[in-house]
């Protein structure tokens, strides 16, 4: 198959890999607390994602701190300018 060929029916069927690849496995459960907080938030908000985005930001922040994820700017992950997001909340939880 040639790279960059005009799209055809086969190109449309390919599943595309994720942008950043794969999360490294959290074998030691280092970020499990943040994960449980996120899951609790989801349960309380009937699985709506918007109120819990701060928690997901904290979870990803924990991953970045513990070296389980490449550190990157929040805007590249779509988590910049969240409501209810403050430095004190982040520092408190991580």
């Amino acid at each position: 198959m040639s790279f960059g060929r005009p799209p055809s029916i086969n190109v449309g069927f390919k599943t595309s890999p994720p942008d950043r690849g794969s999360f490294p496995l959290d074998h030691d459960g280092e970020c499990k607390d943040q994960m449980m907080q996120y899951m609790d938030c989801l349960r309380k908000n009937s699985s709506t994602s918007t109120p819990c985005r701060v928690m997901s930001k904290q979870y990803l922040d924990c991953r970045m701190t513990k070296g389980l994820m490449e550190r990157d700017e929040w805007k590249n992950l779509g988590l910049a300018n969240l409501e209810g997001d403050s430095a004190s909340v982040l520092a408190q939880q991580s």
């Binding site: 005009p6 599943t15 942008d19 690849g21 959290d26 996120y38 899951m39 805007k75 779509g78």
Partner: protein
């Protein structure tokens, strides 16, 4: 042919008045010579130009398609994950993403989603978790594939980071949480075919991993099962080249 024309000498004498005008009756050969030269120059130029255009056509076509989106050229690469695309569309309808987990029978793991569904806005990056536990007494490397239904949402469903397509090694008896960061592109709001979509099912299947002839890890299952996990179970698939060439005269 040209040299022959040049060597014959039957030019008339130079005029006495010393003007530099060519003599009125230039020889036929020299006229033909200059015409042939012209023709050769023009032909070579046309040939070189045509060859150049055929070489340039491929990149030019790609550039044209990428710029105009002609024939549905998709917007792949970092363009899809630019920060401006990762902003939730406030006030748009919410889409419910259901999570499904499967595993191959040969894999002694328990693999379950930690939430049944999440309702998301288009353009909003959301986190979801799966849990996997290795029930066997040995370390096992697994590899996951995924697929999204309905098919029409597949171009808009993008994963920023996940746990699929790469090997995941679980030690014996280990349980681990696997996160997944995804979003639904906001262009779905402009697509009339996707107008009625409110529910999406994201389905992951874990297989045991094995190394293929090139040394890459791939799912240790029949091609049919892997394609089914990718959502192509209803499509007839031609056998892969490795299988075709390895067993001549036999169909897999």
């Amino acid at each position: 042919m040209l040299s022959r024309v040049m060597t014959t000498k039957s030019r008339p004498t130079t005029p006495l008045n010393g003007s530099s005008r060519p003599p009125p009756y230039a020889s036929r050969q020299s006229v033909y010579a200059s015409r042939n030269r012209n023709l050769l120059m023009y032909s070579s130029a046309v040939i070189v130009f045509a060859v150049g255009v055929t070489y340039a056509a491929v990149p030019l076509y790609r550039m044209f398609c990428a710029a105009t989106g002609f024939a549905g050229t998709p917007n792949v690469g970092t363009g899809r994950f630019e920060p401006t695309r990762l902003v939730p569309v406030e006030g748009a309808r919410r889409i419910k993403v259901h999570f499904n987990a499967d595993r191959a029978e040969a894999l002694p793991w328990t693999f379950t989603p930690q939430q049944k569904f999440v309702t998301v806005l288009p353009g909003e990056t959301s986190l979801a978790f799966y849990k996997a536990k290795n029930e066997s007494p040995r370390d096992i490397i697994g590899i996951a594939t995924y697929n999204v239904t309905p098919d029409r949402i597949a171009p808009y469903f993008s994963k920023v980071e996940c746990f699929c397509f790469e090997e995941q090694k679980l030690l014996a008896g280990e349980e681990v949480d696997m996160p997944l960061l995804f979003f639904i592109d906001k262009d779905i709001l402009d697509d009339p075919a996707c107008r009625g979509i409110d529910d999406v099912v994201l389905s992951y299947t874990f297989f045991r991993a094995r190394r293929n002839a090139q040394g890459h890890l791939e799912p240790d299952a029949s091609d049919k099962d892997v394609q089914k996990s990718l959502g192509f179970g209803d499509y007839e698939m031609a056998p892969r080249a490795e299988i075709r060439n390895a067993q001549p005269g036999k169909s897999p």
